[in-house]
Amino acid sequence: MSFLELKDLRVHFPTDDGLVKSVDGLSFSLERGRTLGIVGESGSGKSVTSLGILGLHKGGRAKISGEIWLDGEELVSASAEHVRTLRGKKMAMIFQDPLSAMHPYYTVGAQIIEAYRIHNKVTKAVARKHAVDMLGRVGIPQPERRVDSYPHEFSGGMRQRAMIAMALSCDPELLIADEPTTALDVTVQAQILDLMRDLQQEFDSALIIITHDLGVVAELSDDILVMYGGKCIEYGTAEDIFERPEHPYTWGLLGSMPRLDRDRGDRLIPIKGTPPSLINIPSGCAFHPRCVYEDRTAGAARTDVPELLETEGGHLVRCHLPVEERRAIWENEIKPNLESV
């Protein structure tokens, strides 16, 4: 069994307006030392998935089913208390907005020390030294001094580094980064991505990076999972997704992206419409109302939920279109448009 394995994970929220099926039957697995990128539009269930793995929905209103296996342990059925002891130590998380994700009233050091001392019975002084170490490791200059700063005294990039230091303080084996760079400037984003790559190699942990920026995914990921409406619609290695994508939604994402290596005048190829409401997920293939090829499925897309099927070498796609047709469309209609000048 893999280090991390999700089987048919479902996270549903009952609300006044109806049941929000934020994650609806998600399965994937991840090995130590590998990086999984999860991409998808806003509201596709990326954050809910990651919080689900950490067990942070427990005790809330969420209804969770399915299985999450982490290093041979099942977490969905495990007690909240047990999952808590794993958090921080076995698995850790980096959040998108480091300013709001850090407590404004405690120093950065105190927050790292706290994280460290939950799982390590050490004195404050030792923990503090460790915190200074960690800050240094993530590239914060003068860590002995900065350890006593408050989050608001840090710049955006430094905050995110501190956040990473906090997440890594207990050597977690699984690190989930939920949009770690979205709030940052490009130059800083590049620094952070480098840092994460280096650290992952150093710690040899499993890394899940969640983003809607395909560029970021391409930089870091070994495998990529594309989510739409709470489901995985395509999964494969980075090469699979960027070189041989098979799902129309993935094509749409690639087509929508303005690229630095493409010039003015090249028209973008957007996906029509807007992402679905998770309360009223469209029948059949959730993507069908926005899909240009929906008419080629003889109505199946409207009624039947397509299966997530392996096409080759671990490349999974959830689409009614026949494999050959998909490949043909990619090669002939889409790819030429994406190629630059």
């Binding site: 307006d17 749409g252 028209r267 190829i269 029509k272 419409g273 009223n280 240009v292 889409i334 448009n337």
Partner: protein, 330 residues
């Protein structure tokens, strides 16, 4: 060049349907935020009960003379035949009967029911008018401070600070006490009511003012205000057309929540004997009289409950309104 996917012309028209899919009919007339708040409010049973009671109380206050002429006795009429001359208590303990629904007062035997009913008039009238005054002053100054900023804001904000530093109750009692019975061309209940409205309203405006200032400040940061300015809109247009509609909701909520405070304030002043002059019935005044007859509990009970229920109803309604207008607060 045109790619098969390049359908920007047509995609957009299809899009809205996806958005409104959840709503029942494809109504052309959109639902305003007010309507949405109303829908939300309709689901809040507790708030509706509060609203019901509030409306009921307003009707009671408005039709007090009519109600009293149907059931009960004039509020200031004595019924001393019901009073024991020894203990001064009603002969049968309370005097409650079909004639006197809430019984009669000790000593003079006035009908408690009609006094409570008439008390609603004073209470609600003062609370409403005072709230109106606070909201008017508070909104104008709050918006002016928030919109113009700079020294105008400084002056108004500091004024609010100063007002908030006053021991309002002491001040109100003292003021209500030093003003003689005929002043400013008014006399009797009219003078007392205006005086109380003025005092209560005037000392409460900074609360509304602060809220309005904050709201205005945050609205001013919203880009639609810049949008209007970049279209060449003038100050009044921005204040009245752009900001004010967004201020109505908080104004309404805080006004609704200020009313019960003002009812309590008025009751306190009447209780301390500086409210409307007797024999005009006020709830606070009745309680302060009833204190001397605490061994005759129904005398204190009915006006006490009247205050309680009224304030509670306004609070329930206000809370519900706030939740409905500001879903974040839920």
């Amino acid at each position: 060049m045109t790619a098969p996917l390049d359908v920007s012309g047509s995609d957009a028209t299809a899009a809205p349907d996806a958005v409104v899919e959840g709503s029942p009919a494809k109504a052309i007339q959109g639902r305003s935020l007010g309507q949405i708040a109303w829908l939300r409010l309709k689901r809040d049973k507790v708030a509706l009960v509060g609203a019901g009671v509030v409306i009921f109380l307003i009707l009671v206050a408005v039709f007090a003379p009519w109600i009293v002429s149907l059931i009960g006795h004039p509020p200031n009429d004595f019924n001393q035949d019901l009073i024991s001359s020894e203990t001064l208590a009603p002969k049968d303990g309370t005097g409650i009967s079909g004639e006197h629904l809430f019984g009669v007062e000790p000593v003079n035997g006035r009908d408690i029911f009609s006094r409570v009913v008439y008390g609603a008039r004073i209470s609600l009238l003062i609370a409403f008018l005072a709230t109106l005054l606070s909201v008017a002053i508070g909104t104008v100054l709050g918006v002016v401070a928030g919109y113009f900023g700079g020294w105008v804001d400084s002056v108004i904000s500091k004024t609010m600070d100063v007002f908030l530093a006053f021991p309002i109750l002491v001040f109100a009692i003292a003021l209500a006490g030093v003003v003689p019975d005929d002043a400013f061309g008014l006399s009797g209940d009219a003078l007392r009511v205006s005086l109380l409205v003025f005092i209560i309203g005037f000392f409460n405006w900074p609360y509304i003012g602060r809220i309005m200032r904050g709201q205005t400040l945050s609205l001013r940061e919203r880009e639609f205000v810049d949008a209007a300015r970049s279209l060449g809109a003038r100050g009044p247009y921005i204040i009245f057309r752009e900001m004010l509609p967004n201020l109505v909701a908080p104004m309404l909520v805080y006004a609704t929540l200020l009313i019960p405070t003002n009812i309590l304030f008025e009751a306190a002043l009447s209780f301390l004997g500086v409210g409307v002059r007797p024999p005009t019935a006020t709830w606070g005044g009745m309680i302060s009289e009833a204190v001397r007859f605490y061994s005759i509990p129904h005398f204190m009970f009915f006006p006490g409950m009247a205050i309680f229920i009224t304030v509670l109803a306004f609070n329930l309604f206000g809370d519900g309104l706030r939740d409905a207008l500001d879903p974040r607060a839920r």
